[in-house]
């Protein structure tokens, strides 16, 4: 099986679901790693590993979705529920700009009352105050929710947000794009088809997005494979994904609880992502969920990007994992693995090599 897969990949053919499942379940970690590494080398022969200087701003933790894997959300009336004022958000973005940051990743919950005007006004002001920062914000679930609250269709809502300054959409909330799994872990969240619809709509408007996968909760190996192929199929239609980012469920303080995926499981899924997603340029390693050591090792299992420096991160930290890393450490980490570190924009334009 391995040699057949290798032959296919060498001749530039895609592998099928059964082959992907075999790689995930049966193949040796290093063998899968080598396949992914060869693809990474062919796609990024310059040996660069990129990152973006960014900040996550979570405008609110109030959320009606109440996903069982989430440790971040709060209910209305909770003592620690919050909604940031515009001024607080601007202060945070100012700090980002002071650090030469170029990307604002702003996400919150599915807030019970915030309608599109709140976001439009916010984006307009942000764009005016910080033209150097790309507003890479919200997620398909939020866009859908804001549309519903505002009495708009999803395309109308997304179009207006885009007009107001939303430049690109992060691929969060994808979790596992199989509705049986979503039923178990996030029953109130949009189904996989709605997730895909928002992404395709965004791509149609000329916005780039990323795609994520959160695994290690209740899904089966076949669900992971299905997720990857669904992303691949959307990408075939639109070409709008800049990157794919698999990360692992973090169980602390969540309703689901249990264990996180092991290091080997993470690396294997990452490598498989590189192999299956032959139409997505970039695969991100997740030092935020894996720590800097495994984050670095990920660079040999298909990852060519380490995401953001994350001046602020709250969601993963709420689930009991808080790895902090400075830009210098990130640069050092990339160099130590034998690659050239480079700072990039949200859309993967190189700003500076180190």
């Amino acid at each position: 099986m391995l040699t057949d897969i290798q032959k296919k990949l060498n001749s530039g053919q895609p592998i099928d679901r059964a082959e992907a499942l075999w790689l995930l379940e049966k193949a040796d970690l290093l063998a899968v790693g080598k396949l992914a590494d060869a693809i990474r080398q062919a796609r990024h022969p310059e040996g660069r590993v990129t990152f973006v200087v960014d900040r996550n701003v979570n405008y609110s933790n109030l959320c009606e979705s109440k996903c069982k894997f989430c440790a971040f959300y709060r209910n209305e009336g909770d003592a620690d529920a919050y909604l940031l004022e515009y001024d607080e958000i601007f202060a945070k973005v100012q700090e980002l700009v002071d650090h030469d940051g170029t990307q604002l990743l702003m996400q919150g919950g599915l807030h019970p009352t915030l309608k599109i005007d709140w976001f439009e006004e916010l984006f307009r002001q942000l764009r005016q105050r910080f033209p150097q920062v790309q507003i890479h914000s919200l997620s398909p679930a939020e866009v859908t929710h804001i549309a519903r609250l505002s009495g708009l269709s999803m395309p109308e809502c997304l179009g207006r947000l885009h007009q107001a300054g939303l430049a690109s959409v992060p691929g969060g909330g994808a979790e596992v794009l199989v509705d049986e799994v979503r039923q178990e872990i996030s029953p109130n969240k949009i189904g996989w088809k709605q997730w895909a619809a928002v992404m395709e709509e965004a791509h149609g408007l000329g916005m780039r997005t990323t795609a994520t996968m959160m695994f290690g909760s209740r899904e089966k190996p076949a669900d992971i494979v299905e997720h990857l192929f669904r992303i691949r199929e959307i990408q075939q239609r639109t070409g709008g994904f800049t990157a794919f980012i698999p990360w692992t469920f973090q169980p602390d303080n969540t309703e689901l609880g249990g264990e996180t995926a092991s290091g080997i499981e993470y690396l294997k899924v990452l490598a498989l992502s590189r192999i299956v997603l032959d139409n997505v340029d970039n695969i991100q390693g997740s030092w935020v969920t894996q720590g800097s050591r495994l984050g670095q090792v990920a660079l040999f299992f298909g990852a060519n990007d380490l995401g953001g420096t994350m001046l602020e991160e709250n969601v993963v930290a709420a689930a009991g994992v808080s790895f902090r890393i400075s830009q210098d450490e990130l640069v050092e980490m990339i160099r130590g693995a034998g690659f050239t570190p480079a700072r990039r924009t949200t859309e993967y334009r190189i700003l500076q090599e180190y």
Partner: protein, 359 residues
Amino acid sequence: MEKELQVIAEKIERGERISDADALTLFRSHDLLSIGELAAQVNRRKNGERVFFNLNRHINYTNLCVNQCKFCAFSKVEGESGGYTLALDQIRDKAREALKAGATEIHSVGGLHPELPFEFYLDMLKSIKDVSPELHIKAFTAVEIDYFSRISGKTVAEVIRELKAAGLGSMPGGGAEILGQEVRDKICPEKISGRRWLEVTEEVHNHGLKTNATMLFGHVEDYADRVEHMHLLRELQDRTGGFQAFIPLAFQPDNTRVPGAKGVSGVDALKTLAIARIYLDNFQHIKAYWIMLGLKIAQVALCFGVNDLDGTVIEEQIGHDAGADSPQILSMERLIAMIRKAGKIPVERDTLYNERKAY
């Protein structure tokens, strides 16, 4: 695979020993996965798919130490707040707890205490054996043995004989750090020399006690220092055969006084474990010490030539004082699951690598 690696791969294929120059080539290569595959091949030949662990408890009997090694966040000088020395009763209690928790081994090392007489250490061993003669005591480093000889006026051979008679079963292999003197002068100038460490260890082996060998890496040493370190161990092992496992310890920089030391990256950790597996052809076991590597990297290391994950380790102090963020206790279930998820067979062993139970 790079050409230079290809030559080494052929040696490994033929079961030949690799040279110091080969080891350096591997360290300088960025082909992490090829190095991993070579190490996995060597390990498969030696140990198949079995991965060992044991059930142990650490007892760090004192943190008072007359040496002030710069890499250490554990030691205290006499009178400093936070200094402690366990009484024999406390040691006995901990041994009892360990026995109750199913441990088969007590792992006990401490600082070089300024005042305790040699008899204390003999009494300590006897106290643990009083709790249960079945508990294996793996204790003391060559540094402590040398110190006992100096404080007691006895020869090293006499010290070993008396410790052995009191219940010492084997030694864990600490204090080796980096054996090259230039590095020791920088990080632990007061500690016995590398040569002395090797002499004492050889004497211990000659008395029929097994030991491990460690290497503290990721501070001021370079690749050549690591290779020299492994060279000296391989040479000694050729003479005595007394080493069981080689244990590379990832330096933890927090709360220590080694200027400029950054600690060990994930790639460096895996590479070092893999190269050790390839180079130390006369060592049966390579251990990933998860306390200092973290659980994720320790598990991944099982695909890079490692065949031992140490133990469940109740209450580790030394690595945690230096900022290790691994848990202080690892349940057996979790350890077994980790090994299984690597596609390997978990085997509980005793200290001397006799199989107790395969899972």
